[in-house]
């Protein structure tokens, strides 16, 4: 049941990306190109999405459990550090280069775009690289607890 609802949420999310044309990298880059012939459409996508999602999160905040009776697992981290900002900057550069962020890439993949397939493969490789870096850092930290482990935090 839980997975079925996750599928429906993904499907609705994807249809929103198609209707808004955010699934098309050319449209995204048209929005990011403020110095060229600027297409402000994507600002409207964000406004529409936030207006509706905010109501959902407000309703969720008033409930003890989800509609399925499971506990809420919403992030509680409030730390703003170099890791957060550095990661966001790298993501922004990648988004600006290709015009793809993760959601639209999967939608374009479903539409049969070979370029989306290549992008998704590279993105998964990047995410795996992150897991490797994290695992190596954990090993270093546990192997030498006295030594100062360089961290981004």
């Amino acid at each position: 049941m839980y997975a079925l609802f996750a599928f429906v949420a993904g499907l609705v999310f994807g249809i929103g990306l198609i209707v808004s044309q955010m699934a098309s990298p050319a449209k995204v880059i048209g929005f990011l190109d403020v110095a060229g012939r600027w297409d402000p459409s994507l600002a409207f996508v964000m406004c529409g999405a936030i207006a509706v999602a905010a109501i959902g999160f407000a309703l969720a905040g008033r409930r003890p459990t989800t509609l399925l009776g499971t506990p809420f697992l919403l992030p509680t981290t409030r730390i703003i550090d170099a890791r957060l900002v550095g990661g966001a900057l790298l993501f922004g550069i990648g988004w600006g280069l290709g015009g793809f962020c993760p959601g639209p890439a999967f939608v374009a993949l479903g539409a049969g775009q070979v370029k989306a397939f290549v992008f998704v493969a590279a993105m998964l490789a990047g995410m795996l690289a992150f897991e490797r870096i994290e695992a190596a850092r954990t090993r270093l930290a546990t192997a030498a607890p006295q030594a100062t482990v360089p961290t981004s935090e």
């Binding site: 609802f5 599928f7 429906v8 949420a9 993904g10 999310f13 994807g14 929103g16 699934a23 098309s24 990298p25 050319a26 449209k27 048209g30 990011l32 110095a35 529409g48 999405a49 207006a51 509706v52 999602a53 959902g56 969720a60 409930r63 459990t65 499971t70 506990p71 919403l74 992030p75 890791r83 957060l84 900002v85 990661g87 966001a88 790298l90 922004g92 550069i93 990648g94 988004w95 600006g96 280069l97 290709g98 015009g99 793809f100 962020c101 993760p102 959601g103 999967f106 374009a108 479903g110 539409a111 370029k115 989306a116 290549v118 590279a122 993105m123 998964l124 995410m127 795996l128 992150f130």
Partner: protein, 144 residues
């Protein structure tokens, strides 16, 4: 600044955004989670895969969206201008960046801002700024 009025689609953009908002609200109320695509995918690559089922289901929903949409209406064009080397570099940066930054356009941009999270506001401002600068450099500095 010159606005491209022929490409400007405020109504479909707003409607599509509202549908994305419905999906995010639904996922929060029913599944109790943030509809953050990078986090959902990234979780599949972790050593512990206990919750792989719903993660894979969400991604399958995204991939199925154009197929389902295509049954009822004609799919709007998806235009990818970048070449393969550029897309590989972009993919790697998006993969590493979204995991270190703990979110992307959906997790920080849509969900985080909807929850008034200061952390997500900082992340969103950072990736938007980086994306604007990147497009400026590739379109107007390097390309001339």
């Amino acid at each position: 600044m010159a606005i491209d009025w022929t490409a400007f689609t405020p109504w479909s953009a707003f409607a599509g955004g509202a549908i994305i908002g419905i999906a995010a609200a639904m996922f929060a109320l029913v599944n109790g989670r943030i509809a953050g695509i990078s986090g959902i995918v990234g979780g599949l690559l972790r050593p512990t895969r206990a919750d792989a089922g719903w993660r894979a289901a969400f991604i399958a929903g995204l991939v199925a969206a154009p197929i389902v949409y295509g049954v009822f209406a004609r799919l709007p064009p998806i235009v990818v201008d970048g070449g393969y080397p550029l897309l590989i570099a972009a993919g790697l940066l998006v993969g590493v960046g979204t995991r270190f930054g703990a979110g992307c356009t959906s997790g920080h941009g849509v969900c985080g801002l909807s929850r008034a999270s200061p952390r997500s506001l900082v992340a969103t401002l950072a990736f938007m700024a980086a994306a604007f600068v990147t497009v400026f450099v590739t379109r107007h500095v390097v390309a001339g």
